[in-house]
């Protein structure tokens, strides 16, 4: 069946082509020697905005992208400057970053680690992005953070609430402004004790993934520390849309508090189911049955409608805050898009500004210089009061908001009311706290 049809000319030709193909790479010198990956040119610098544009968190992603576009506009001197005027560091002057015009590329994380990494890689390898930021899931944040560490670019995390992002999976090139599960637990516990008492029996429904675990762990340990008892714990698949079968066992247990460690569409559905089953009208052990949602967002409150009324939760930031920074941000965001920003938009906007400011102060785009400028950086005027970027784990420490669903909302955006601003001291923990132990920052990576 096989037939060899070799001619002298054929062999020579193929040999020459193959030889040239194989030898070519060895002829070339490796890369340009600027000392770090994707060093920008003299006129412009490219940032990579990697946000979920499809999938369960597409709403958050769209809001994040709006915030980034606004941040770029402000950095380049357009618009009203937003938080640049209230930011305590005055290094940024509206002429871009280090005199270079800010440009950006976007990618779709699809809220999948693989897709997010592919998108980040293409922004780094193809578009020459010097920094990657965004995302609305901890799984994605951890995956992309590890990629940026390897590639030698800075990662400014978007909305990611799991302890692991700056705990077990922390990386030297990665920074998080958003708060985390531990802070939610620590801020919520005293409010829950004050309102519901200290002898409660809690039942946890937890989304079956990394963020769900750390949030349950955090809420459990802080509520148990003040006397609550945990009587049940069930993991629910992330793709679940009907939670009826998970609510029934709650009715049969002697629990008097239900904690929903769910986010986004999950929380909207589970809370709606819980209310439909009449949990909120129940009396157990002579007490009113209560529901708690550790991580709240306005987009979720909107989805759950009237069901959120009176339900406690925590949030990173809310547009109704009355400090100068928040007011400036809400004003410029509202002017541009016609509605107030979400907490996801806020954290992404702040992260973009913090990165630009760090580069400006460091006088260099080199990741290691930026890391040095951000580590231990204290700032104010960004909507959360005085804030510290802790050097040990690259986590921001700031006040945490405890909110509850508003009884009489005045508009479709006015759904949450701030119950308390928990001071930063109450939510601060040691870098080697058991919920965060097991990781190492490593050393900053400048790449090629």
């Amino acid at each position: 069946m096989s037939k060899t049809n070799l001619t002298r000319r054929g062999v020579l030709k193929t040999g020459a082509v193959a030889g040239a193909g194989l030898a070519l790479p060895t002829y070339l010198s490796a890369g340009s020697h600027t000392g770090f990956t994707n060093a920008p040119g003299d006129s412009s610098v490219t940032l990579g905005f990697n946000v979920p544009q499809t999938g369960p968190y597409a709403d958050e992603g769209a809001d994040e992208l709006r915030a980034y576009e606004l941040a770029v506009e402000h950095l380049n001197g357009g618009g009203d400057g937003g938080m640049l005027s209230t930011f305590s560091s005055k290094a940024l002057d509206g002429t871009g970053i280090l005199g270079r015009k800010v440009e950006y590329v976007t990618g779709d994380t699809q809220t999948k680690s693989d897709a997010a990494r592919a998108s980040a890689k293409s922004m780094i390898e193809k578009d020459g992005a010097i920094m990657i930021t965004g995302g609305s899931s901890s799984g994605v944040a951890v995956a992309v953070q590890a990629l940026c560490q390897e590639a030698g670019v800075i990662f400014m995390a978007g909305l990611t609430h799991s302890n692991d992002t700056t705990g077990k999976d922390k990386k030297a090139n990665g920074f998080r402004h958003f708060f985390n599960s531990y802070m939610s637990g620590a801020a919520l516990a005293p409010i829950l004790a004050k309102n519901y008492g200290t002898d409660r029996k809690a039942y946890h429904l937890t989304a079956d993934y990394n963020w769900g675990y750390t949030t349950e762990e955090a809420v459990r340990s802080s509520t148990e520390a003040m006397g609550w008892e945990t009587v049940g714990q069930v993991l629910t698949p992330l793709t679940q849309t009907d939670f009826s079968s998970y609510i029934t066992p709650v009715l049969q247990s002697d629990a008097d508090v239900l904690v929903l460690n769910h986010y986004g569409g999950n929380m909207v559905n589970s809370l709606t189911n819980a209310v439909q089953f009449g949990l909120r009208d129940r009396q157990v052990n002579g007490k009113n049955f209560e529901i708690v949602v550790p991580l709240y967002s306005r987009l979720m409150a909107k989805g759950a409608g009237a069901n959120v009324k009176g339900i406690f939760g925590s949030t990173n930031w809310h547009w109704s805050l009355q400090d100068e920074g928040s007011k400036a941000f809400v004003k410029s965001f509202g002017t541009k898009y016609g509605f107030p920003p979400s907490q996801a938009a806020h954290t992404c906007y702040v992260q973009a500004l913090l990165y630009a400011d760090a580069v400006q102060r460091a006088g260099s785009f080199a990741p290691c210089a930026v890391v040095e400028a951000l580590e231990g950086f204290e700032f104010d005027g960004m909507g959360n009061g005085p804030t510290l970027y802790r050097a040990e784990d690259h986590q921001c420490f700031k006040d945490v908001l405890v909110v509850k669903g508003k009884e009489n909302p005045t508009s479709e955006f006015d759904l949450l009311e701030i119950v308390e601003v928990t001071p930063v001291d109450q939510v601060t923990y040691a870098p080697d706290h058991p919920q965060f132990a097991g990781g190492a920052l490593g050393t900053c990576n400048n790449g090629a």
């Binding site: 193909g21 693989d114 390898e125 990629l147 050393t443």
Partner: protein, 414 residues
């Protein structure tokens, strides 16, 4: 050459030339030009082209030859990735043992899944494989992911066997008994082949063009060429003929006294091992393995690739894989700003109109474009992109070739 007929040898040489020159061919537009958006010659995407090429070549051995439509092939891709990751974590960062374990593990799972699934054919077979793949996904996503009751946070198994939704990643605490635990700078070591790092690359600047030659890409390309060669040999072997016989009429084969089971199982295992190899390569290029690699959409994707390129043809699946990955990575990144940039020369109202027309088909709407192209191919070109190529070739060759093909078609079979 290499035991191939002249036609196949030419095809192999063409594929060899295309893969080796890919950094040039995929970067036709100069850096900074408006068309640079369409350049695909960066390492990550080129690696994806060849890796998914391997995946589709393997799938084609099952689907193209035997006609058994597996809807769960992504399971083997995932198993291969996890196997390679565990090799990196436990033994060292050399990719050769990692790829070996990927192939072996996916082969074992393929024997198991194939033995059960192949008891049925047609739609029942597809559903069985789909069920197995979703079971694997669920296992990887949560059951094997973590241990809620007593997390040993310092230990090796702190995140279970698969790491759940976050995926399985390298850490500095991994033992790596045969290799270095960490790179000199204290960061994670990088997958390599005897010291040559997969992520290392060289750049060639010619005028405005920048061409990147990545070690990882060339390694994957060589693996794909070997896989492609093996697939040609399988297609042309008596074994391949037997698989075709199963596709054309399994009952007749039974009546002639042949048992098709061992042949279908062998084809299933071989194609599972191809998928495992592709999964292992994915982990070697980017050391992370996530469960979504096993989701049913990933299984559906390889079916699309094979059909789009041309099921049952040698080169088709590779072309299909390239086309889909190109759209996923290039088309999906065009946003409305870029569109406005392109059409800025038009009057304002017209510009907005044109952008509004095109916008649903790009960016996050790339699935829509893919769907339309897929429908067009299935309706007008049942033989996939390969058929399109043949038609074009026929058109150029003119009447003479037409006569040739006529006489060829009346020839009796061998």
């Amino acid at each position: 050459m290499l035991g191939l007929e002249k036609k196949d040898a030419t095809l192999l040489l063409i594929v060899f030339g295309l893969t080796m020159l890919a950094p040039f061919l995929l970067n036709p537009f100069p850096e900074g030009s408006a068309m640079a958006q369409f350049n695909a010659g960066y390492p990550d995407l080129m690696q994806r082209f060849v890796i998914f090429g391997i995946f589709a070549i393997g799938f084609n051995i099952l689907f193209g030859l035997t006609g058994y439509l597996s809807f769960g092939h992504a399971a083997f891709l995932g198993i291969g990735s996890y196997a390679a990751m565990w090799m990196f974590k436990l033994f060292g960062m050399n990719v050769i043992p990692a790829l070996a374990l990927s192939v072996v593990m996916s082969g074992l799972f393929a024997v198991l899944i194939g033995y059960v699934s192949l008891r049925r054919s047609g739609i029942y077979f597809s559903i069985l494989t789909l069920a197995f793949a979703m079971m694997s996904y669920a296992l990887a996503y949560s059951v094997l992911a973590t241990d809620m009751d007593g997390p040993d946070r310092q230990g090796l198994l702190q995140k279970g066997l698969t790491g759940g939704e976050t995926g399985l990643q390298l850490t500095l605490q991994d033992p790596r008994i045969l290799g270095q635990k960490a790179a000199e700078d204290g960061n994670l070591p990088v997958p390599n082949i005897f010291g040559l790092e997969m992520r290392s690359s060289a750049e060639l600047e010619l005028g405005n063009w920048v061409f990147t030659f990545s070690a990882g890409y060339y390694f994957s390309a060589v693996v794909m060429l070997i896989a492609f060669y093996l697939s040609i040999r399988i297609f042309r072997s008596p074994f391949g003929m037997m698989l075709r016989a199963i596709k054309s009429n399994q009952q007749r084969l039974n009546y002639t006294g042949l048992n098709p089971k061992p042949y279908t199982l062998a084809a299933f295992v071989i194609s599972g091992m191809y998928a495992g190899l592709a999964g292992g390569l994915m982990a070697s290029m980017d050391p992370l393995a996530g469960p979504e690699r096993m989701f049913w959409t990933a299984s559906g994707e390889v079916v699309l690739m094979t059909i789009l390129g041309g099921a049952g043809t040698l080169i088709g699946p590779v072309l299909g894989a390239g086309a889909i990955k190109y759209m996923e990575n290039i088309l999906s990144k065009i946003n409305s700003d870029i569109l406005h940039g392109w059409f800025a020369f038009l009057p304002d109202g017209l510009e907005d109109f044109v952008v509004a027309i095109i916008y649903p088909f790009i960016g996050k709407g790339w699935h829509l474009t893919l769907g339309l192209i897929f429908m067009a191919v299935v309706i007008f070109l049942p033989g996939g992109l390969v058929e399109a190529g043949q038609r074009v070739a026929r058109m150029f060759r003119g009447k003479k070739a037409e006569d040739d093909s006529k006489s060829a078609s009346t020839e009796p079979a061998e």
